[in-house]
Amino acid sequence: MVELNEVFETNTMICDENLDVRTITMGISLLDCCDSDLDALCGKIYRKITQSAGDLVRVGDEIGLDFGIPVINKRVSVTPISIVGSSACRTCDDFVKIADTLEEAACSIGVNFIGGFSALVQKGMTAADQMLIRSMPKALSRTERVCGSVSLASTKTGIDMDAVKLMGTVIKETAEETKDRDSVGCSKLVVFCNPSDDNPFMAGAFHGVTETDLVINVGVSGPGVVKTAISKVRGENFEVLCETIKKTAFKVTRVGQLVAKEASKRLNVPFGIVDLSLAPTPAVGDSIADIIQEMGVEYIGAPGTTAALAILNDQVKKGGVMASSYVGGLSGAFIPVSEDRSMAYAAEIGALTLEKLEAMTCVCSVGLDMIPIPGDTGAETISGIIADEMAIGMINQKTTAVRIIPVCGKRAGDRVEFGGLLGSSPIMPVSKYGCKGFIDRGGRIPAPIHSFKN
């Protein structure tokens, strides 16, 4: 029988510390929709998504009501569209038409994002991959809910530097296409090294080709819960600190496991994974930076930050792994600058820099995330930033990503307001020194020596 204090502890987490289920994401394979006729393909895609996920939003809301926990987002991820559309699409505009179909399907079933307008080009680009990537500026600017991602590198294959160079241009063009909205189109575009096939979080979610036909993946959240827990052990040693994070992560993840199993049962779709990632929001008290600062670092970005983030990431995994039967996705701590109020403040006062963020991505689950940079940053410089981040992922055998926003017409120090969950941030300065000669070389960076394990 549950005890009074346990019930009130859970409800305090939910009501006061922003514990929620961040997303129930249904992965849908579109491989069976492939057709050489574009109209037929789009018709099949629309029908498959609306028939498979028609009840997703209703069931998500019902589960939220039954357990008294907010289920914030209900989303869909699909098979990378460069594969699905490869035999039907002859031009970039053909891929844009598929993006329109995805948007229409997402609106019809009421999900706020649909991921998978993606290409996996870590070793090279097919003609279809290139067309999809080149269609991204148009596709992402004319849709509200479609998210795109490109895998540019992996530990097994190395880094496709031709694609890295192309993405620098594509990100600039996407920013230009949405310049009337602070270049927000780039917030729906992420590039990866070692991407996860079962990531439920946007903008990088896609349904991997090795996945089953339909699957339910769940992302939990709870930075506020972790922060409150460690505020009770202020001044204690690292053993106590780590144990506290671990126990809290266990509790948070158990809620995700419950919701994932319940969604799977009610939708009659197999349960995939729970993603353990701590995901912040711009809301007060829902910040990763606050956790790092509660550990004793004055502002996130100060010396000690990388070590603190490493502790957080590792303990969240250790606590979470035991709480769920299947853990996957990105599972760690997100550090999106504009989406985390305290992180944006640290950037504003100069405590947090792009270079420090890069160091932090060596120990956390994702990468350079939601970072607005000056609009006049060159495409080669953006490619250079991407290449650095891909190298970190490739060498360290981990997922890394870049979601960077060159905000048209704004300079370092100006402020940008994306609104909603995307938050706001100062424009962060970028090194004024270039890397054109490096990026222009083209070709592929070979896989590292430790990838040859066979």
Binding site: M1, V2, L4, F8, F67, R254, V255, L258
Partner: protein
């Protein structure tokens, strides 16, 4: 059995539990356990109830108890028991 946890938080005064229990009786909801603490003038109460014989939808019960909460100037939450078992039991 369809076990649900009902929690109530608010300023203590006469008749809170009576009002909530009346609602349960009117809706064929059986009370399995009641625990409460009072700190200064505030009451924290938890009830475990069984909805097995209740014919109304769970969402109606949530709304109904919200209204009861407003009547007694307390916040009442209704949740299926599994969330607490999952979080606090291995």
């Amino acid at each position: 059995m369809n076990r649900v946890v009902v929690t109530l938080v608010g300023k203590d005064h006469i008749g809170i539990i009576a009002t909530v229990c009346n609602y349960f009786a009117e809706n064929d909801i059986n009370i399995l356990d009641i625990k409460q603490t009072t700190v200064r003038e505030y009451i924290n109460m938890m009830m475990i109830v069984d909805l097995e014989k209740c014919s109304r939808q769970f969402s109606d019960i949530v709304c109904g108890l919200e209204d009861v909460g407003k009547k007694v100037c307390c916040v009442i939450r209704v949740q299926h028991e599994e969330i607490f078992d999952m979080m606090h039991r291995i």
